[in-house]
């Protein structure tokens, strides 16, 4: 009896995953727990270990294909073993590509409305509907679109021009060709000179949905304060090497995380979530760090129990999570469950910002670029490394009094390092 | 007036008796829980045998209604047929157990199928009369209803049609005084159904429906009239419905026991025995024979199988009709 490979649930709230890459191909021998494919959720890419030793008999979900978690995406078993759903016991690989995951009729998150016939044809011809351009209402893929796509596929694989008979005129006057000039084609979305439609990858879509949801959900208020990082800078310079010996690169972010932990300790209300039943105070402090993946988007790995970590511990966690986030090697649960978030918008030169809350948290702290500025201290001018801290909070949960108290505590923690 | 032969007298009485004993057994079977429904013809037997033995049976056409058990027995319907119908068993001859009991159909004897809503079949009688007239045949059509049916528009339309087109149709109204609970006075402002005919231009006759020889004479006369091409007629046979309307009715709520008892004294069956001058020994013998036939019919029907459920799919259209 072959063993199914199922789409793992890569985190609490995750309902579907995308096959990023099959590491093995059909017919390959695999060991139990040997990585067999990579799966992409909207947060992370994870390797899926083989559920059994044997041969990868069948791949059911193509690379790039999204399926609900729990779906069977392939089978591992003895070589030549029959796979449920196959009529014959032919060895794996002898079969045409397995049927694409059935697109069901109805509203599809990615593709819009899928009519019953389109769903059926997609299944019948094993089509990736994302490759079919929709011409129906609202860009819906119509039966004709699918038919045209299939016809085009056929044409592409069909007879070459030299195999086709001409119209019979051996010496065709050129005038005939120029006599009826073709009207210019109206511009279409396919025209590279015109606008181009970028398909949405799961991450882009998840970010979009989450951000829009957050702005709809919580009344955002942003408050900004300035912190003098003279002592942090000195401390950092003095300890860089020490930390490096312990295998940690000491970043400013580590200080901010520590300062935020102090702020949250002083103002527990900020470490909370709004719910209609009441404000849910989180006992533990899981601080998320927004890590940019440049054009590909961003992820927010979470430092668990940040309040219990030393600066070294924080620094290590920051290094590790950021590095793996950039290479998309986070485990799913490392990118979820945060109770507060820090976003380092300063890396791009931004001074202050109005960050959007990472729901269902209460606040997010934006850290601007550290700049030497002239400041007045004891009525004297001084040059100090300064940073703006932009704190966005859910005004349903806290008011300016609490928010500013929290932010002041963070500032004091940094300035008094 | 034609004299009744001894054979005919005996045949009329036998038919009345058999109808009565079958009908009574039906009530017993219902109270035993062996059948679901019965609609009675007790009290109507004299009128019905008067009609059926005046018809040219198998030549004339009959469009009956649900109390016509004696009429149907006179046309060859059998006790076994009746019991199969009461129990809805396989082989039921009028509808293959599709209709409730006492919804007749007997094509071999020109008896047409009818439905439960009353008076609707009167129009069919007119249509048959139209066809007979078109063919120039000597047949007549006999159709029966209760007096309640004469309130229906379709009864008027039928009588009017027949009158306008001078069709050979006899409209028999078996006036048993009640339409379920409503007395005849709630159905008509005139004294009887025969009077209804007056304003519509056809012959109207009323006769004591509990006097078998009198009914026979009256029907013979009316049938001759209609057969002669003189146009249709209404003939009212005045009877009394001794039983409740049907096995599900309770007549104590709308009429007194005294009234019912009074009419039982005038029951058409003992009256017929006397009027037809039958020997007591003969009556006793007929009673024994009737009981034996009824017993046989009940046993036969009880042991008969139910129809197959999927038989219900047929025959919706003429194309579906299969030889049984």
């Amino acid at each position: 009896m072959p063993t199914p490979i199922t789409m793992p649930k890569l985190g609490e709230s995750i309902v579907e995953g995308t096959v990023a890459r099959w590491i093995k191909t059909e017919g390959d021998a695999v060991q139990e727990y040997e990585p067999i494919l990579e799966v992409d959720s909207d947060k992370v890419v994870a390797e899926v270990p083989s559920p059994a030793a044997g041969t990868l008999l069948r791949i059911l979900a193509r690379e790039g294909q999204s399926v609900p978690t729990g779906s069977v995406i392939g089978w591992v078993g003895a070589p030549g073993e029959a796979v449920p759903g196959d009529e014959t016991g032919e060895p794996a690989g002898a079969k045409p590509p397995a049927p694409a995951q059935a697109v069901r009729a109805g509203r599809d998150r990615e593709l819009g409305f899928i009519s019953p016939v389109v769903a059926r044809m997609a299944a019948e011809y094993n089509l990736d509907l994302r490759l079919v351009k929709g011409s129906g209402e609202g860009g819906r893929i119509t039966k004709k679109d699918v038919q045209a796509y299939l016809d085009a596929q056929k044409t592409n694989g069909g007879p070459q021009p030299w195999e086709l008979p001409a119209d019979g005129d051996l010496f065709r006057p050129r005038e005939l060709d120029s006599a009826a000039p073709k009207p210019p084609e109206p511009p279409t979305l396919d025209d590279p000179a015109q606008d181009r439609l970028l398909p949405l990858d799961p991450m882009r879509r998840a970010i979009a949905e989450h951000m829009a949801m957050s702005m709809r959900t919580a009344p955002h208020v942003t408050t900004v304060m300035e912190a003098d990082l003279t002592r942090v800078t000195e401390h950092r310079r003095a300890n860089l090497e020490v930390f490096a010996r312990d295998g940690a690169h000491l970043t400013y972010t580590a200080y901010v995380v520590a300062a935020v932990a102090a702020g949250l300790k002083a103002f527990p209300l900020v470490n909370s979530s709004w719910s209609d039943a009441g404000i849910l105070l989180h006992r533990r402090m899981h601080i998320g760090l927004a890590v940019s993946l440049e054009e590909q988007g961003l992820v927010v790995p979470v430092i668990r129990d940040a309040d219990g970590l030393s600066l070294l511990g924080i620094a290590r966690a920051v290094n590790d999570l950021a590095a793996r986030a950039r290479t998309r090697r986070l485990r799913a649960d490392e990118a979820s469950g945060g109770t507060f978030t820090i976003t380092n918008h300063g890396v791009g030169g931004s001074l202050f910002a109005t960050p959007v809350i990472n729901q269902p948290q209460c606040g997010i702290l934006g850290v601007g670029a550290i700049q030497k500025r002239v400041v007045v201290i004891d009525d004297m001018l001084a040059v100090r490394p300064m940073v703006y801290l932009s704190f966005t909070f859910d005004h349903r949960v806290v008011d300016g009094y609490t928010a500013d108290g929290f932010l002041r505590t963070v500032v004091k923690a940094l300035e008094g390092w | 007036m034609m004299e009744l032969t001894t054979d005919l007298k005996r045949e009329m009485f036998w038919t009345m008796l058999l109808a009565r004993r079958l009908d009574e057994r039906a009530w017993l079977l219902h109270r035993q829980g062996k059948i679901a429904f019965h609609i009675s013809g007790i009290g109507h037997e004299a009128a019905q045998v008067g009609a059926v033995f005046a018809l040219r049976r198998g030549f004339d056409w009959v469009v009956p209604y649900y109390r016509d058990l004696a009429l149907l027995l006179g046309l060859g319907y059998t006790p076994r047929d009746f019991m199969l119908a009461l129990m809805g068993k396989r082989g039921e001859r009028t509808s293959g157990a599709r209709q409730m009991p006492s919804h007749w159909s007997f094509k071999a004897m020109n008896v047409v199928s009818h439905s439960s809503p009353v008076a609707t079949q009167a129009l069919h009688a007119a249509g048959i009369g139209l066809a007979i007239k078109r063919r120039g045949e000597e047949r007549i059509v006999f159709t029966s209803t209760g007096e309640g049916s004469t309130s229906e528009g379709e009864w008027y339309e039928a009588v009017n049609w027949a009158a306008v087109h001078r069709l050979p149709v006899v409209f028999n109204v078996q006036n048993n005084q009640y339409a379920i609970s409503e007395p005849a006075s709630r159905q008509m402002a005139v004294s009887g159904a025969a009077e209804r005919a007056c304003g519509m231009g056809l012959k109207g006759v009323s006769v004591d429906g509990m006097d078998a020889p009198a009914c026979h004479r009256a029907f013979l006369e009316v049938f001759d009239h209609v057969r002669s091409g003189a146009g249709p007629a209404v003939i009212e046979t005045c009877v009394y419905r001794i039983t409740p309307h049907s096995s599900d009715d309770d007549d104590r709520s709308y009429r007194s026991r005294e009234e019912v008892e009074h009419y039982k004294q005038n029951d058409c069956l003992p009256r017929a025995e006397k009027a037809l001058g039958l020997e007591p020994e003969l009556v006793e013998e007929l009673e024994r024979k009737a009981k034996a036939m009824v017993d046989d019919a009940v046993a036969f029907a009880l042991s008969a199988p139910d129809p197959d459920g999927p038989e219900a799919a047929y025959p919706v259209y003429a194309e579906d009709v299969r030889d049984a």
Binding site: T142 | A126, P315, Y317, D320, R322
Partner: protein
């Protein structure tokens, strides 16, 4: 082939069947001396006599009920109800008696009869001379329900109906009586009851219609064709028994269905077609099944403006075609 109007085709069918089979009778109000208020029976009384072309009393139930009786006796009556609006008085005779006769007698009695009635609006007939009643009867097992849309079918289907051993409801689109002309084959022919007819082939969407609406659907389809929309038009012709195969075959090809009738929407015949498609062609549908019908009002008003608002017409059908094509 000679060209004639729809009403002339009806008259010819009656004439030829009366001549062919002495069992055929015509029964109805004003069918004799007047030759029918729409002239469908003109000249028949003179030719076949008043015993076969029968002026009935003004009582619709009796026209059908007497027809039932005549059919029981072996005649082949053709009963005319002057307007479909008046057939309700005969509903009991049609539904309780004619339709159920074969079943209730276990096949002992069958009724070869036809009930003809002009139906439909657009002729300024108001609430009681414009009704469409087909849905009532298409719901009744034991009946056949036929609606021709052109002279050739009218003649061929009426002949088939008269020869059919069952009660056949034959509804004629009265607006088309003189408006719809067409060629009619010479000689005796009949058009079978049952099969629908693809009157225009197309690939983008299917329009199902019958009677006058089929005529309009063809006009709308021609215009849509000029706009680049390839419309298949199916003339249902027989509503009962329904031709599932033709309906399914067309939608399996086009993926889209529009049903047009001038009867009002709710519980109309379109609902049955839509249900068939939902049940048996779900995997072929590329769009929701669409119905274009009269709104759910009790009748077509006498006022011309209100009548036009209620009735579907080629423009409205074209609009629906465009919407469905765009989906």
């Amino acid at each position: 082939m000679p060209e004639m109007t729809l009403i002339e085709a009806v008259r010819q069918a009656l004439d030829e069947e009366l001549a062919r089979d002495e069992r055929v009778l015509v029964i109805g109000e004003d069918v004799g001396r007047r030759g029918g208020v729409f002239r469908a029976t003109q000249g028949l009384l003179e030719k076949y006599g008043e015993e076969r072309v029968i002026d009935s009393p003004l009582a619709e139930a009796s026209i059908v009920g007497v027809g039932v009786g005549a059919a029981l006796y072996g005649m082949r009556p053709v009963c005319e109800i002057q307007f479909a609006d008046f057939i309700h008085m005969a509903f009991n005779q049609v539904v309780n008696e004619a339709a159920r006769m074969c079943y209730r007698s276990n096949g002992e009695w069958t009724l070869p009869m036809v009930i003809r009635a002009p139906y439909g609006g657009g002729i300024g007939g108001g609430i009681y001379h414009s009704q469409s009643v087909e849905a009532f009867y298409a719901h009744v097992p034991g009946l056949k329900v036929v609606i021709p849309s052109n002279p050739k079918d009218a003649k061929g289907l009426l002949k088939a109906a008269i020869r059919d051993p069952n009660p056949v409801m034959f509804f004629e689109p009265k607006k088309g009586y003189r408006l719809i002309r067409g060629e009619v084959p010479e000689g005796d022919y009949s058009v079978p009851i049952g099969p629908a007819h693809v009157s225009r082939e197309g690939t983008d969407l299917s329009v199902f219609a019958y009677g006058m609406m089929h005529h309009y659907a063809l006009q709308a389809a021609a215009q849509a064709g000029a706009e680049g929309i390839s419309v298949e038009v199916v003339d249902l012709r027989t509503l009962l028994p329904v031709d599932r195969q033709s309906i399914l075959a067309s939608v399996r090809k086009t993926g889209k269905a529009l049903i047009v009738h001038e009867d009002n929407l709710t519980g109309g015949y379109g609902a049955e077609v839509a249900a068939i498609l939902a049940e048996e062609a779900f995997g072929d549908l590329d769009a929701p099944v669409m119905r274009l019908c009269a709104p759910d009002v009790p009748g077509i008003p006498f006022s011309h403006a209100m009548q036009e608002w209620v009735m579907p017409n080629p423009q409205k059908i074209l609009g629906a075609i465009r919407r469905l094509a765009r989906f």
